[in-house]
């Protein structure tokens, strides 16, 4: 549920994602091979794929290339003092495609190549979305500070 919540726009969408993911899991349980990985990782991948399918339905991934890299400076103390629900709300305020790339990269540890393969975009577009996510989050976190 925690995985679906990170990608969903709200709690109801997270419940839908989880339901669909479990139905798919039960229907394809015979394809699970424990020699390739553990069951938790397999189920996590199903939930993430289902989440990305939901995001693709409600957003459009345009091809964008990153020209300059700007590393935003964010005070860690602010994040530590901020509530988890508030941080989740900040992440959900990102545009859908940027939101998906940020969660995939920063939280679930996907590389830009893997994100590009998952979402059908180039690595440059994935980097652009990550940069956009960092800039927006910096502005919003700075706004919380003030």
């Amino acid at each position: 549920m925690a995985i679906a919540i990170r990608y969903a726009a709200d709690t109801h969408e997270a419940a839908d994602i989880l339901t669909q993911a479990f139905v798919k899991m039960f229907r394809s349980i015979h394809t699970f091979d424990d020699t390739k990985g553990n069951f938790h990782g397999w189920l996590k991948r199903i939930i993430i794929n289902e989440s990305l399918d939901h995001i693709k339905q409600r957003s459009r991934f345009s091809s964008l290339e990153l020209d300059t890299v700007e590393e935003p400076v964010v005070n860690n103390d602010i994040i530590e003092k901020t509530d988890a629900a508030a941080i989740l709300e900040l992440v959900r305020q990102l545009p859908p495609a940027t939101h998906a790339v940020f969660v995939l990269y920063a939280i679930d540890g996907y590389t830009h190549k893997e994100i590009g393969g998952q979402l059908g975009i180039s690595e440059g577009t994935s980097k652009w979305h990550l940069s956009e996510a960092r800039k927006i989050l910096q502005q919003k976190i700075t706004a919380i500070k003030n």
Binding site: M1, A2, V23, A106
Partner: protein, 203 residues
């Protein structure tokens, strides 16, 4: 850009600690309902009630061949009967004139108005017209030759010449060679020679 920044790690840790809403029961009910719906839906390859296997196709083909053979046999038999059946020939009858009673007549006279069959009138020089060939015993189909009937008004019949034969590729020559021409007439008799009268003909 390719590294996760410290604040992102903090965000990830915060989101992992995020309390999950208590929706387990509703989610499980929804999963149960969707799985039941999946089970109730027909499979992609449903079993057809009238599906015929390979053996069935062979049986159907055999029955079809048998029916075809029976039909062919019946059809050939009926065709043979049609060709052999003779057409009814009308009887030639004529009223017999009543002759006066004669003491020399040994046979009783027929009553007036009765019709007696007459024998066919055969002239010595006439060519008998055969409308139908006499029925022959069944022979090999290769040797059967259909000879057309001789027409009475044809030039062959008038000149008392045999009708031209229709040759085909399987025509068989007769075993005994017939003598050619008329006896007593040699080929020299047909030679055309210039006579005296024709050279001195006056215009």
């Amino acid at each position: 850009m390719n590294n996760i920044t410290p604040y992102e790690k903090l965000i990830a840790a915060k989101l992992e600690e995020m309390p999950v809403p208590d929706m387990a029961d509703s989610i499980w009910a929804s999963i149960d309902m969707q799985l039941d719906a999946v089970v109730d839906t027909p499979k992609e390859n449903p079993v057809h009630p009238f599906k015929i296997n390979t053996k069935g196709w062979f049986i159907i083909a055999g029955i079809a061949l048998l029916i075809g053979a029976i039909w062919w046999y019946i059809h050939s038999q009926s065709a043979a009967n049609k060709t052999v059946t003779p057409t009814p020939v009308p009887e030639k009858t004529a009223p017999v004139p009543i002759a006066p009673a004669d003491s020399s007549s040994l046979y009783p006279l027929p009553r007036k108005g009765t019709a007696l069959p007459l024998p066919p009138v055969m002239k010595k020089d006439s060519i008998s017209v055969i409308d139908k060939l006499p029925q022959q015993p069944p022979v090999d189909s290769i040797q059967v030759q259909l000879v057309p009937a001789i027409r009475v008004d044809s030039p062959e019949a008038k000149d008392n010449r045999p009708q031209e034969r229709v040759f085909d590729s399987i025509y068989l020559l007769p075993t005994h060679k017939k003598p050619r021409g008329v006896k007593g007439i040699t080929p020299n008799d047909y030679r055309i020679s210039v006579q005296k009268d024709s050279t001195h003909k006056q215009p």
